[in-house]
């Protein structure tokens, strides 16, 4: 059972009206931005379930876009995110979709950054502003962003995990949770490392320095 803090009960500090439909949505957007990397030029939000039904009234659309722009859930400019996006030349679009058995507050986000790289994620807002990312670039995953999270995209070959954890231990970073997902043997794989400590930027450089088997490293600060 989760050991609730006083700040889980009185908090989060946020822009209304709904912790699940607004604050959680902004957090999903923020994680999506990190995963896409670089300056996002085009984004499509595909809304499912309750998100699809009530997104205008709850400002879910503005909150998702605010997250894509890098805003926190308590940023007072959140309600102006559409205007800010237009001024920055960020194209955005919202559509309603059916993702089947997904959580009622789920969104699929497709992004293209300035270098033309495409990314997509699926995330759900699971209550009280908490979120769960369930898919990245077609790969089923699961992480919450509750802890500082390192996401490593690697090639599924022997020894990669050992090299990564060795670097973590050299920086005295305690791993709270770790999961590994792969598409198929020897192909694209993801490592999710949730830590108890802040992860310094040097760690990312060291991880990238491991070699070609490490394709990308993202750091998501605790939400």
């Amino acid at each position: 059972m989760k050991n609730y803090s006083a700040f889980d009960v009185i908090g989060p500090r946020m822009i209304g009206p709904s912790s699940s439909h607004t604050a959680g949505a902004a957090r999903i957007g923020k994680v999506a931005r990190k995963i896409c990397g670089g300056e996002i030029k085009n984004v499509v939000f595909m809304l499912h379930g309750s998100f699809a039904k009530t997104y205008r009234g709850h400002g879910t659309d503005k909150a998702l876009l605010a997250g894509i722009l890098g805003m926190e859930p308590d940023d007072k400019n959140l309600r102006k995110s559409m205007e800010i996006a237009r001024n920055k030349g960020l194209d955005y679009q919202f559509s309603e979709t059916d993702l089947g058995e997904a959580h009622p507050n789920t969104v699929k986000i497709k992004m293209i950054n300035e270098e033309g790289n495409q990314s997509e994620i699926i995330g759900a807002s699971i209550g009280g502003g908490n979120i769960k990312i369930t898919q990245i670039n077609g790969l089923d995953v699961e992480f919450t962003g509750e802890y500082p999270t390192l996401i490593i995209r690697q090639i599924d070959i022997p020894g990669v995990i050992a090299k990564v954890t060795k670097i973590m231990s050299a920086f005295e970073i305690n791993i709270a949770f770790m999961r590994v997902f792969r598409q198929s043997k020897g192909k694209d794989a993801f490592m999710f490392i949730e830590t108890d400590h802040l992860v310094p930027k040097d760690v990312i450089e060291e991880l990238i320095g491991i070699g070609e088997e490490i394709r990308q490293v993202y750091l998501i600060e605790a939400l």
Partner: protein, 294 residues
């Protein structure tokens, strides 16, 4: 002994052993669990108090309209009345109620608030605690301690039941917020830990079974007015507890009853907008107007 209490009875025992009040035990529990200093923890809660105060000010003075246009401006109306004429339920009551409504109106207009314990119930605790604090001349430090008292009650409910409308109906959401508010006020005014729990228990008992039936599924109506009644409920129960009136059913049992009642509510009455006020002819008409607007 650890300060990680798990229910009301456990909390009373912890208060007795350490000879400290509920708010202080909650602060020390936080220190134990996070390793942070007392000052850091108090300062962090202080930031939430600032946002709460700003939200009240904004809602009481500015012209506010929600995203859908359904709510806004009611806090101002009530304020105008209690400031200019004699009211039925008195100035302090009306001020607390108007303050609670103000926060919810700010929330519905995509303004900044602190979930307490949720966004849809975020008006009750600040509305009552800050009003009582002002009227009795308490400083911000005392109010921040009050927020920890409230957090202790909210934590017990979250741990053993639920504060989510989708799970337990409005009783779980605004009911918990009101219980937290009553608890904070009783402790602020010098009530003993037992009295704090009696206040919280009575508050929830008063609204047991309250359904969550938001029009068009939005955190607007009847949420603003449910925060108003939650504030009034909290003040009345705080006075009753401070007068020595006891809850016949103990706090922990009330929480368990609330959880069971919540689970036995049909899903139509748990935030789905498929029943209650949401499915009245007027509720349905408003829903159609809102969703066909754009």
């Amino acid at each position: 002994m650890s300060k990680n209490f798990t229910n009301g009875l456990d909390l009373l025992e912890t208060c007795k052993i350490y000879e400290k009040n509920i708010g202080q035990i909650m602060i020390e529990r936080e220190m134990e669990n996070t390793g942070k200093t007392e000052n850091d923890i108090i300062e962090e809660m202080g930031q939430s108090l600032v946002i709460m105060k700003n939200a009240i000010k904004e809602g009481m003075n500015k012209d506010i309209k929600s995203v859908s246009g359904l709510v806004g401006g009611d806090a101002k109306l009530l304020k105008k009345r209690y400031e200019s004429e004699k009211t039925v339920s008195g100035k302090r009551m009306n001020k607390a109620v108007a303050s609670a409504m103000a926060v919810l109106e700010v929330n519905a207009s995509m303004g900044q608030i602190v979930a307490a314990p949720t966004a849809g119930s975020s008006g009750i605790l600040p509305g009552t605690l800050i009003t009582v604090g002002e009227d009795f001349g308490f400083d911000d430090d005392a109010l921040v301690k009050g927020l920890f008292t409230a957090a202790a009650i909210g934590y017990i409910i979250t741990r053993n039941a639920t504060v989510a409308g989708a799970e337990g109906g409005c009783q779980a959401e605004t009911g918990s917020a009101a219980a937290m508010a009553a608890a904070a006020i009783v402790e602020l005014l010098g009530g003993r830990p037992e009295e704090v729990l009696h206040a919280a228990a009575m508050t929830i008992k008063n609204i047991l079974g309250l359904v969550c039936d938001p029009i068009a599924g939005l955190v607007e109506a009847p949420c603003v007015k449910r925060n108003a009644i939650g504030a009034a409920n909290a003040l009345i129960c705080a006075d009753m507890a401070l007068a020595g009136i006891k809850s016949i059913i103990p706090f922990d049992e009330v929480i368990e009853a609330m959880y069971k009642v919540g689970k036995s509510l049909p899903c139509e009455l748990r935030e789905t907008a498929l029943g209650g006020l949401a499915k009245t002819p007027t509720g349905v008409k408003i829903e159609e107007e809102i969703f066909n607007k754009k």
